[in-house]
Symmetry: C2
Subunit: 356 residues, 2 copies
């Protein structure tokens, strides 16, 4: 295993779309959403077990989740858990982690991964990550993983690449969540993949590219050299974070840089961004139900039932519903109407903090 | 108030059709099913507050519910709570209460009422009960309340009466739950009412009629004279109960006796025998939903939502469903399919006594 390989897991999200399972005090990435016995964060870390040494794993999260991270990944030193004073989008989060790692090891190769995605085929995933890591070391490119699209989903960003026989393809353009007619075109053309938000680069390439595209923010983090991995790190971060632009790494870097390449694959990826996507990647019973909990289902199909193990849930006559119960909240909602979850959370917040 | 008026409330039922609200350890009659602030048992007792003195109220129930009765009707002396060693249908239950009351006061006029019915118009109800009590004292008739039928319900027993201008009408025949074509005929004819299972008689008339129709059981209870209201009462009951035929008072007495009369009325009666009937008599929101609990309902109509006050329940896209949660059990079921509740309870029992 290359001792210069590092992993940064972004674990600060609130995951509100998975309410009521995902909650402010305990969001999605800290749950065993798939019923596998491991939380999404644990699955993410373990996915890189053959790629990067455990002492090279860094988790960026909020202060309020630091204990959860520590409980779920007990082998991490506290210095490996980076806490943001507040959410400031992905550019600041990634810059913090990369500049800190670069201070420790300027020869570092860094993989950035969200904490809450699912990869069903981990062997294929590792293969592609290793291609990216190798390419990152041997070239000056910013790598990203592309997911071969299986449908014209308008909920994802797309990457347009130059087709070739090489595993590593030059990226022409990043395209944000498109209208349906564009998405249909993209999928048809064969030159577009989904942007999974998984990035691979060397610290050196990242630093040069970030300086070029985001000079102000780069300067802020560059000035941290003397604070990272020291007692003053937290104060330093608290001071510079408010000065950082709130911008995604896609906008800040990937869309503007011209040294971006993509490695495409199919490995049963899902960002678990919706209840529907959970249904798609979950094991289903004969009636296409994804069930976890002590559930008796009658005349029920195409549904997700997720209830506490201690509760007995009896459901009858549901087709295409989400039934989710967690910590004092029960939600029953048509799968096709799950965009309403945002509204539910707003209304729930009015009734009490304990419900969100 | 006539000091000879007595009330017997039958409160030993299991109410399984209202599962999961109604449970073995705490069945329907002990719940505030209507959200009125009073349980069905309390409502039943209070309904007779102008008719019979509180010291003349007797509750027949199972030993395991004696404490619940005592908590809910704290003004009752323990001698007013009659416990059956096991359920033995209504004839034994009623005979026990009537013979015991007759031993105390042989001039007693007795009303028999189930514990778990709803009467929305209590003034009208009291008026009819008083007519029955007066008739019972002045004649040798067994009185019953008849409910003017509003639909050809096949879930009720019917009473065929001789039409006349009198409030008190002679009963020709009791008819058990009929097939739909018969029920349609009954409702059309105008000479049929629903049997509400509420009976009114004097002890004297009951005793004579019971001796005539059920001589063996009458003899058993007659022999209790020296035990009722004494230390030996429980032992006596435990000894004779197994010898009693398990038969309803309708079969045992009302269908066979020829001194039966009915007083008909409309007073918003429901036996709350089904979730649907609860929906019918409950207050509804603008979308015909009967809701109790902390519930946010979206695009939901014709449904019953009954969840614990502490829980936040968010429901979306339900039409004609029952959503009921109580003590570790959640049930979601189409209103039209509630006959399945029996099956649910059987399956739940296999998973643990705590679920039934």
């Amino acid at each position: 295993m290359n001792q210069n390989n590092y992993l940064v897991i972004m674990a600060g999200g609130a995951g509100t779309r998975f309410w009521p399972i995902s909650r402010n005090a305990n969001p999605k990435q800290f749950h065993d959403v798939m019923g596998s016995g491991r939380t999404l964060l644990q699955q993410t870390a373990e996915r890189f077990s053959g790629i990067c040494p455990p002492e090279n794993i860094y988790i960026v999260t909020s202060q309020i989740y630091a204990d959860l991270v520590s409980e779920q990944l007990p082998y991490l030193a506290s210095s490996q858990i980076l806490t943001e004073p507040f959410r400031r989008n992905t550019a600041a989060c990634i810059a913090y982690a990369c500049y800190k790692i670069g201070t420790i090891n300027e020869k570092s190769n860094i993989v950035i991964s969200p904490a809450d995605h699912i990869i069903l085929n981990e062997t294929e995933f590792a293969k592609k990550i290793n291609i990216c890591l190798e390419t990152a070391q041997n070239t000056d490119q910013l790598l990203t993983l592309g997911i071969n699209p299986t449908r014209p989903d308008t909920g994802y960003g797309y990457i347009n690449f130059e087709n070739s026989d090489n595993e590593v393809k030059k990226v022409n353009q990043f395209l944000e969540k498109p209208p349906l007619e564009n998405a249909i075109e993209y999928v048809k053309s064969g030159n577009f993949v989904w942007n999974a938000g998984i990035f691979i680069w060397t610290f050196k390439t990242f630093k040069l590219s970030f300086e070029a595209q985001m000079p102000a923010m780069a300067e802020l983090f560059e000035s941290g050299k003397n604070y990272f991995n020291q007692a003053g790190e937290a104060d330093f971060i608290n001071e510079i974070y408010p000065k950082c632009e709130s911008i995604s790494i896609d906008y800040a870097l990937m869309e503007k840089a011209n040294n971006v390449a993509v490695v495409n694959g199919e490995f049963g990826w899902s960002d678990l961004g919706t209840w529907k996507s959970l249904h798609e990647v979950s094991e289903k019973d004969d009636n296409n139900n994804s069930i976890s909990g002590q559930v008796l289902a009658y005349d029920t199909k195409n549904s997700i039932i997720k209830t506490p193990q201690k509760l007995l849930a009896v459901v009858q006559g549901l087709d295409g519903y989400i039934v989710a119960m967690h910590e004092g909240v029960l939600m029953i909602c048509k799968k096709e109407e799950e965009q309403n979850v945002k509204l539910f959370v707003e209304k729930a917040a009015e009734l009490g903090d304990e419900f969100i």
